[in-house]
Symmetry: C2
């Protein structure tokens, strides 16, 4: 068998990342209202969305900024309520239902599994732990950007050839194109918001659910 | 009625803080072992205790330091597992059983309730939120040290006289002595590790459970 190493994206590939983020923000806003913040949900949601857009989702002080914008006098209790509700929601993430059994079957077939993702490695391991699939993975490769250089580094670290690797992800620009350019086999999973892009995918395989991997 | 404002300590007064911290650390160590860290529990617990002692409990990188000491090669997954288990345990804190009903009865009697504590105000509000008693409190007063100056500041902020205030806490040195010196009424709650001190308390009232407040 040619393929020896399987690389996975996490967000919107192994779990419904965007949906859970939206839910976490909703729960956070409701927790601030429950603590006595006297604004309606739609207004707070709009303000918060603007802050998230401006500061990106990796910023840690969205709720502090929201309180500052609203000129809240003693913001600590609202920030604490929002952060607690947000983290509780983030802790309750679940994988797509077919994910755990598919990963287990791939392990039984002898494939070592890896994560190739952007961001912070402790945060990405935290997601795998929350999703209860951490034990299936050998290593998490992280980088600021998913570009050719990143995939080259992974190949070097695994001491393997591109044709012996397969990258599985939901984003054409990050998961498919740079990996394919190097000769890595690519699988595009059509889930989440990027599945609605109109540009045709150049991935070697196109699937809707991760369990279809087993028949590739 | 003379007493108008009630000030409470949080840790080991409203909940079994030391017990929950010990449990959180135990769960964190077990989570690292479950993730494949190959050392026995007693050894890891000893190492971690030394780090906590050295860096104090307010330090944020105990588990990173532990991995560094053990020369763990890819520490991210162990750090993530430990932090997740630690936070989950900290999120599950419960008040002493008589606390919520006592606070509610005090509110019904018209007393405004406050927290006087050390540390960070968002973290202290987070505890009140986790304990599900946050709505009972008007304000959280925080300071680096619980000394006379801190209690003076609180009196000023509440625009009240010491004899109209009552401070309730488990620690003679922080909750009782400095408050009593200013003329604030003091209640020592004999729970947790400080209840075993042999020095006699100078508090105006001594109780074993918080519901005894209702008959003072």
């Amino acid at each position: 068998m040619a393929i020896k190493h399987l690389l996975f994206d996490i967000d919107d590939t192994l779990f419904a990342s965007s949906e859970f983020s939206a839910l976490a923000r909703k729960n956070a806003i409701n927790a601030m209202i429950a603590m006595g913040l006297d604004y309606d949900y739609a207004f707070l949601n709009k303000k918060l969305s603007q802050i998230v857009l401006r500061k990106t989702s990796n910023y840690s002080y969205h709720f502090n900024d929201l309180c500052k914008e609203l000129k809240v006098k003693n913001p600590s209790k609202f920030v604490a309520a929002a952060v607690a509700a947000y983290h509780d929601s983030k802790s309750a993430i679940q994988p797509f239902p077919e994910v755990p059994i598919t990963l287990l079957k791939l392990k039984e077939k002898g494939y070592p599994l890896y994560i190739a993702t952007t961001g912070n490695s402790v945060k990405q391991w935290d997601k795998l732990i929350r999703l209860k699939i951490a034990l299936y993975f050998e290593e998490v490769f992280v980088s600021d950007q998913k570009n050719e250089q990143f995939y080259k580094k992974i190949l070097k670290s695994l001491n393997t050839k591109p044709q012996n690797c397969m990258m599985i992800g939901d984003r054409e620009d990050r998961d498919i194109l740079p990996a394919k350019k190097l000769g890595i086999q690519t699988v595009r999973v059509f889930v989440g918001k990027y599945s609605r892009e109109s540009v045709p995918s150049q991935a070697d395989y196109k699937i809707k659910k991760i369990d279809e991997l087993l028949s590739i």
